[in-house]
């Protein structure tokens, strides 16, 4: 238990620092690389939460595919690769109070609702087999719909980005 909490604290601190750097850095490529740190931290938290299949999917899809898309997007839109001062809005300071108020509201709600409730000890760990039974059983129709969404997104992206 102690080891889990220490691991959580270290990963959470790294994630929060990296997330703040994503939204404050003045270099688009650095923002993408900090985002990799955040996404790896999320995958590590999934493993702490005993969701190994979701963690592997997170690494494959987000760190593998989505990050390559972001770097290609940066390259093809010819954003400045180095430092760039024009990344923020004129009214970017407005975001700070909005984020703080939102966090305060959520923190109050969470502390009131869950207090110091503990995670159950590991007698009901969800296995990957159960997840697949669920996806290809009761959630089969959403799975089909999802494959059509992905197909439409692929075709749509090609049509949008095509020349002429």
């Amino acid at each position: 238990m102690i080891a889990q909490n220490i691991g959580f604290a270290i990963i959470a601190a790294v994630m929060i620092i990296a997330a703040v750097r994503v939204v404050t850095t003045s270099n688009v490529v650095h923002a993408a690389l900090w985002l990799v740190v955040v996404l790896s931290g999320v995958a590590a938290q999934y493993i702490l939460l005993a969701a190994e299949f979701v963690a592997v999917t997170q690494v494959l899809v987000y760190i593998g595919a989505v990050m390559v898309l972001f770097l290609f997007g940066t390259m093809l839109t010819r954003s400045r690769i180095g430092r760039d001062s024009g990344l923020n809005n004129t009214y970017w300071k407005l975001g700070i109070p909005v984020a703080l108020v939102l966090f305060a509201a959520m923190a109050v709600a969470l502390v009131n609702s869950f207090g110091d409730e503990r995670m159950p000890t590991d007698d009901n760990i969800v296995s990957t087999q159960q997840v697949s039974d669920q996806i290809f059983g009761p959630y089969l129709l959403p799975f089909w719909a999802l494959s059509f969404v992905l197909l439409a997104a692929v075709i749509g992206a090609i049509v949008l980005a095509r020349k002429d």
């Binding site: 955040v38 984020a99 969800v126």
Partner: protein, 99 residues
Amino acid sequence: MLVNQFLLLAAVLFCIGVYGVIARKNAVLVLMSIELILNAVNLNFIAFALRNGSTDGHTFALYVIAIAAAEVGVGLGLVLLVYRNRKTISLDDLSEMKG
């Protein structure tokens, strides 16, 4: 492990993402902030799956990951299109819908 430590971490990530969406002007950076928000939601799904001992959270998290991948693909396609027509991806310059 407390339930709240994961939920509060997700809340922090969510708020940082909201700040990014408000503060950033570059369209690619706004998409990255949206990814932060989606990951915060996924972390909540998995935390509640462990708390309730249920598989539904895992299933939904996988679906959210797939939808996020589709969203990034279409979003970056739109950004490329805007860049080709305007030679800029600054969201402040796309103001035709302003009254």
